[in-house]
Amino acid sequence: MATTTKKKLPVFEPPAGSLAHAPLGQGCFLGETERLQAPKLKEALATIKNWFRANSLWVMAYGTGCGAIELRPLVTSRFDFERFGMAMRPTSRQSNVLIISGYLAVKSLKRVIRAYEQMPSPKWVVGLGSCTINGGMYWDSYNTINRLDLYLPVDMYIAGCMPRPEALLAGFGDLMQRIKRGEANGWHHYLENFDWYKANQKKVITDWNMPDYNW
């Protein structure tokens, strides 16, 4: 049988002062946020690229609110959104659509921002339900936000309380059309107006303890 002995391994520390690192809050990698891609794409390639993107929207499995209850019928056999190329992915690194399914409590908003920034570009945000548009039923609540587009760039709103799976499919169809036409550029808008979004987010999230941009 193998015996284990606990022994301290030697640790070599680097010489003092040889490592420099950015303080938290200023962006951890290279001191910069993500940059927009330079507009070097050719026209024809852009159409093909958008066609590929629109027909394979992978949704991050994050049920942020009420609307998550209609996501299950949407995913499963009856309404089946997989025939449109959509799938549910468990992590933000493997998805490009974030569905905000209803109201957002401030505590949830902090995690949603982190998840959104961790998604690789191109990425889209779909606001499901009336709560994302103007606060909905909880307009006078002290804990839910009233306007989603102050904090995240929304590419498609689907109104309802809550929207039926057919309405969701129609909304996703519209989103795919917008992507194919090249109009859905929420992530560009986020990076171009980064300071405005960050100011709005920090106004409502009082205990900001994350780096400014989460890769």
Binding site: V106, K107, K110, I133, N134, G135, W139, D140, S141, Y142, N143, T144, I145, N146, R147, K203, V204, I205, T206, D207
Partner: protein, 180 residues
């Protein structure tokens, strides 16, 4: 089933009592008698389950009311024990030693009302809110609309209609629940 109310009144004294339904008895006791009463009920009577623990803000009287709901699972009767505490120095004894789930209830009441339960673990640990910087929100002097207007202002262009005027016009006197 009201013998339990008489027994409580004899042993601990009561300020009021009421039978709301045959399965719901209510009694009001002094705040200092609550923990001895609940301990006696848990250990010597069939009322062993703590179903609910709540707080009510009686701001006009300057008091909080704590409500403990105990259930007898064999005879299927519930007993509501109500106690009033002062609103400014809001403090009450913890029952978390008797029932483990009381820790969660007391944590939430501390966060939402500002009532302290000395000795209860997790007092002051936020349970529902995060980064809250105002008074405890369930207190009646917290104005949720004013807070919403400063922190989460609505989209401009919103129209307001007084429900009284609208409902009276469209549906008449009886309101809108009937289509006959």
């Amino acid at each position: 089933m009201t013998e339990i109310l008489d027994q409580i009144r004899q042993r601990f004294g009561a300020e009021w009592q009421h039978v709301q339904r045959p399965d719901l008895l209510q009694i009001g006791v002094d705040a200092k008698k609550v923990v001895p009463l609940l301990t006696w009920l848990k250990e010597h009577t069939p009322f062993v389950q703590l179903t609910h623990l709540s707080a009510v803000d009686w701001i006009e009287e300057g008091q909080f009311q704590l409500t403990y709901l105990l259930t007898d699972p064999t005879a299927h009767v519930s007993l509501m024990v109500c106690a009033r505490i002062d609103r400014d120095a809001a403090e009450a004894e913890s029952v978390s030693a008797l029932w483990p789930q009381a820790v969660t209830y007391e944590q939430e009441i501390n966060e939402m009302f500002g009532i302290r339960f000395p000795g209860s673990p997790r007092q002051g640990v936020p349970f529902i809110l995060e980064g809250w910087d105002d008074i405890p929100p369930m207190r009646r002097d917290f104005d949720t609309v004013a807070y919403m207007n400063t922190r989460h202002p609505p989209r401009p262009g919103r129209k307001h209609t007084d429900p009284r005027a609208y409902v009276g016009q469209v549906f008449g006197e009886r309101g809108f629940l009937h289509d006959d």
